[in-house]
């Protein structure tokens, strides 16, 4: 089997930057990813990436992709990594489609929307359950919708939906909403919005499409009639495929200032790591560090 110098998992800002650096160091590298751009595509407006005073997420990602493709970097899209382990000095990356061997690896697999984990959620995904208010909100015009969550992303979704939907419910497990006060005031003062605190969703109900939520408030089960469910309860790192890597309580991969994980030869960068600031520019910088780290590791180990 072919032995790569470097396999990069993920093609968001961290993975793409790692790929560019790998190409410039002439490492034989392979990028394996489900999609291009990761979470960066969801940003409507980016105004803190130097060189661009204002650019949309999809446009910046298109620039990133164009940049990566000017180099002869092997890229496997639409491929999900399911396993990562090291045997002897070989790192084995397992995907749904096959296995790849490498001397080093950069894990840059990012984060995904956290699921509620209740019955009916998966079954009704895109049949009323959605994770993108900006995208799918307009389809719920004059219908009733529920936003699940109480932080900034939930409030942001509610602010969009209250202009479109007949009524918007915010279902929040905590005692109060936790998002920014300015946003909280806006939703709390809008008659088309009801905030249900201390409330938990226990099931998503429907026939072909969603028609209700089962919720629990003060130990009592209730049925709330709605057609749209917007899940906004935060993000989860895509790190499940690497059980041997050390992680923090959130499941983020622990790295040191050299982007090294606990396994020599495996580096990590971007939002999947415990590096505190989740920013496109930070992820890109961390991707560069990880790739250069891999290059140094290869030189030191003289394979």
């Amino acid at each position: 089997m072919r032995m790569y110098d470097l396999i990069i998992i993920g093609a968001g800002p961290a993975g793409i930057t790692a790929g560019v650096y790998a190409a410039r160091k002439r490492m034989s590298s392979l990028v394996i990813t489900r999609d291009i751009g990761g979470q960066a595509v969801w940003s409507a407006e980016i105004s803190n990436y130097p060189g661009y005073q204002l650019i949309s997420g999809p446009d910046l990602v298109a620039k990133f992709e164009e940049h990566l493709r000017t180099y002869a970097v092997a890229l496997k899209e639409n491929e999900r990594v399911v396993g990562l382990r090291k045997t002897g000095s070989t790192i084995i990356v397992k995907t749904e489609k096959g296995e790849y061997d490498s001397r080093t690896c950069v894990v840059a697999s990012g984060k995904r929307s956290q699921a509620l984990g209740v019955p009916g959620e998966r079954e009704f995904k895109n049949r009323g359950v959605t994770y993108c208010a900006t995208c799918d909100g307009p389809l719920f015009a004059d219908k009733d919708a529920a936003v699940i969550g109480g932080g900034n992303s939930a409030l942001d979704a509610a602010l969009q939906l209250m202009k479109i939907c007949r009524h918007t419910y915010i279902i929040n497990t905590a005692r109060t909403l936790t998002g920014d006060p300015v946003m909280r005031e806006k939703v709390e003062h809008n008659p088309a919005v009801s905030v249900l605190n201390n409330t938990r969703v226990t099931a998503v109900l429907g026939d072909t499409m969603v028609n209700a939520l089962q919720i629990e408030k003060d130990g009592k089960q209730e049925r709330l009639s709605i057609q749209g469910v917007f899940v906004e309860i935060g993000l989860m790192p895509n790190s499940d495929f690497a059980p041997d890597l050390e992680k923090n309580a959130l499941g983020e991969i622990r790295v040191n200032c050299r982007s090294e994980t606990n396994i020599p030869g495996i580096f990590a960068s971007g939002d999947v790591t415990d590096v505190p600031e989740k920013q496109i520019i930070v992820a890109a910088g961390e991707g560069a560090k990880a790739s250069l780290g891999a290059f140094r590791y290869l030189a030191q180990n003289k394979f």
Binding site: D35, V41, W42, A44, S56, G57, P58, V61, A62, E77, N78, K125, N126, R127, G128, T130, C132, T134, C135, D136, G137, P138, L139, F140, A141, T208, M209
Partner: protein, 81 residues
Amino acid sequence: MEKNVKVYSTPACPYCKMVKKFLQDNNVAFEDADVSHDRQKAEEMVKKSGQMGVPVLDIEGKIIIGFDKESIKQALGIRSP
């Protein structure tokens, strides 16, 4: 041969933008149906795809949900670079 391509989208959805850019880059002409303004088109999309997520593509009657590059290429007969 020119294929009949229709994209159901909403204005702010990133994958809708990416689908449209992909089609433009490959010189594929398409009809852009904005389902946030056109209730009838929205219903048409839900009926065709059986779901409510955007984007949805209709390529000569073949329905593709999401920015599924491989399926789109296959339906259009675009060869991989």
